[in-house]
């Protein structure tokens, strides 16, 4: 099995390098959105000293950390898989004696991540030079504690993303559902605004949803802002969601393939 993943990695890694223009577009996108967010919040924070206790430096460190965390936890499964289901090319994958999603699509995600991460580093350094973040609160142990959260965030995101994409077995409108899902993620993950600035109801809800594991929880752990008991509770919620998303994916995949093989590929 290890050998399969190794070869999958070689193939997908080689493949990713074919999409250089694609990568460039991502770099521009990354550069633009934090600059906009930061420009707004720094102006607000500076004019009133702080926003809900968050200083200008808090915003700078939050958004710059967010850039890296989102990159690590996000997944592109819908772009890899939905079209394969819809045009029937999934058949080719189903002929192989391996699970197409838990092997090829997973590795493809990771290869994409690895390559874009390399591209992200210079962007990140440029932004650091522009905004001078003060990272004095970050320690070695806060970084270590965040690693499981990032892994958990990616695992949940990957499985939920795959589950959602599998809806393509039933509907051709999966991208619309995907957009709605992305909106939920942006709202409840802390990707748009740090969650502590959200209305209390949203904050309460977010505590029970899987999405804060994608951004907010890892960021707060890295920045040493999360009290241990909160961290523990968030980890517990994350593990529960991991289990839920595993079952969801397993079920949707099984039913989906059944349907795929009923209507014809």
């Amino acid at each position: 099995m290890l050998q399969i993943y190794r070869r999958l990695w070689q193939v997908n890694w080689a493949e990713q390098w074919q999409y250089r223009a694609n990568l460039l577009m991502y770099l521009l996108y990354w550069l633009v959105s934090p600059v906009v967010y930061l420009a707004v919040w720094i102006t607000v924070a500076n004019s009133q000293g702080s926003v809900n206790g968050l200083t200008a430096n808090d915003f700078v460190t939050y958004y710059l950390t967010l850039l890296i965390v989102v990159q690590l936890t996000s997944d592109i499964t819908i772009h890899l898989l939905a079209s394969k289901i819809q045009d029937g090319t999934l058949s080719g994958d189903l002929l192989r004696p391996i699970h197409p999603i838990l092997t090829n699509i997973l590795v493809n995600n990771i290869a994409f991540k690895a390559l874009t991460f390399i591209g992200l580093i210079p962007v990140w350094l440029v932004l650091c030079a522009l905004f001078h973040p003060n990272y004095s609160s970050v320690t070695g142990s806060s970084l270590l504690l965040a690693i499981p959260a990032i892994l958990l965030g990616f695992s949940i995101g990957f499985l939920l993303g795959a589950t959602l994409t599998c809806l393509a077995f039933w509907t051709t409108r999966v991208y619309a559902i995907g957009e709605f899902y992305t909106a939920l993620v942006i709202l409840f993950s802390g990707q748009f605004v740090p969650l502590q600035l959200m209305p209390p109801t949203i904050q309460r809800l977010a505590e029970f949803l899987p999405f804060q594991m994608f951004c907010y929880v890892p960021i707060e752990i890295i920045l040493n802002q999360m009290p241990p008991e909160v961290m523990l509770r968030n980890y517990a919620v994350g593990v529960v969601w991991l289990v839920i998303s595993m079952f969801l994916f397993k079920w949707v995949w099984r039913e989906g393939v059944k349907r795929f093989s009923a209507v014809g590929a």
């Binding site: 493949e15 080719g92 002929l95 192989r96 093989s261 014809g264």
Partner: protein, 356 residues
């Protein structure tokens, strides 16, 4: 056994290939354990249907009408290990649907099938490991990278040992001349080159059962011949069971002694290729060129076929039983310059079988 080596010998001598052709023929022999058993296999698709126009589009949103399409109806046949069978039928006959059911991609709506003892649509790892489905350009290869990389991936997926992999690849390379194209990204290959890589990718794990859907489609004559020769050698030396569809009769006549014909999802014929013309179209063609222009009425001897060439050659279709008598009569009554008796082209015979 080193099947590809002998395959190359065959390649070097086409005449030998033709002589050696009938090797595994047991469809009428005593039953061994069937490699493929298909019993009353059926597949009905539900296809949404609506009239054109805006009103119908809105109506269809709320209340969708479905029609049943019987793609495959109660088809039964068995294929013995090592047999190479041609699976024929016009477009939409149900060939691909059947192949997809046999390779586990489709659930049937009725009947049963066993391939090497497995029920295909259970999609057991052991089954997928031992069969292959090669469909035109539907790919086992990643588009953006060289085929060699995809091959290495297949090596891992099918758990092929390094030694076996190297040997098989070398042999495939010898037969299909892969080396010049293996390092180029698949998207830059020609249709024929891609098909060769596709076949190789499907055969690296040395499957025991091969389902081939139009393996020579879009290829030039030379490439077609090469792939035919290759399949013949593969079948002969591995004893693999092969079921193939093709629009090129040459594929079928060169490779398969036995053909199964389906039309509108129903089995129309299952038997020897030579028997086919006798049973379905028991007639011969008399090609005749008259010495002097004469107002003779050739239709008095049989059915005069349209066409004929500029040399004045004309084709008359007569019943196989009467061919000797009619020929004798024509030779006696007409100013014959040239006369030959021909079998009808296999395409026409099969066309007739479709209609029957």
């Amino acid at each position: 056994m080193d099947f590809f080596q002998s395959g190359r010998m065959v390649l070097e001598s086409t005449s030998r290939l033709m002589i050696n052709l009938p090797v595994y023929s047991c469809y009428n022999a005593n039953r061994m354990t069937d490699a493929i058993l298909v019993e009353k296999l059926s597949k009905t698709y539900q296809v949404p249907e609506r009239e054109g126009g805006f009103g119908a589009a809105v109506g269809g949103f709320f209340h969708r009408k479905y029609t049943d399409v019987n793609a495959v109806q109660q088809v039964s046949f068995t294929i013995q290990p090592g047999e190479m069978v041609g699976f024929l039928g016009p477009n939409g006959a149900g060939k691909t649907t059947t192949l997809k059911m046999l390779s586990g991609l489709l659930h049937p709506t009725g009947g049963r099938a066993h391939v090497l003892g497995f029920t295909p649509w259970d999609r057991k790892r052991e089954y997928l490991q031992t069969m292959t489905l090669v469909m035109g350009q539907r790919s086992r290869l990643s588009w953006d990278i060289p085929a060699a990389d995809s091959f290495l991936l297949n090596q891992a997926i099918y758990r092929i040992s390094d030694a076996d992999y190297q040997r098989t690849l070398k042999e495939l390379d010898d037969l299909l001349e892969l080396s010049p194209i293996l390092r180029k990204p698949v998207r830059n290959l020609s249709l024929g080159e891609r098909m060769k890589c596709e076949l190789a990718a499907g055969l690296l794990h040395r499957p025991k059962v091969l389902f081939l859907d139009e393996p020579t489609i879009g290829l030039d004559i030379t490439a077609q011949a090469r792939i035919r020769t290759f399949l013949e050698a593969y079948n002969r030396h591995t004893g693999a069971t092969i079921l193939l569809t093709s629009h090129y009769m040459a594929d079928v006549t060169a490779l398969c002694e036995r053909v199964i014909i389906i039309h509108h999802g129903q089995l129309k014929y299952d038997g020897g290729l030579t028997d086919l013309s006798r049973r379905v179209a028991p007639f011969k063609l008399i090609a005749v060129t008259l010495g002097d222009p004469c107002p003779c009425d050739l239709s008095a001897y049989g059915t005069l076929l349209p066409g004929g060439d500029e040399d004045g050659k004309q084709l008359i279709q007569v019943s196989a039983r009467d061919v000797a008598a009619i020929t004798a009569r024509m030779l006696a009554e007409l100013p014959i310059h040239d006369l030959t008796i021909e079998d009808p082209p296999i395409e026409d015979v099969i066309e007739q079988a479709f209609q029957g």
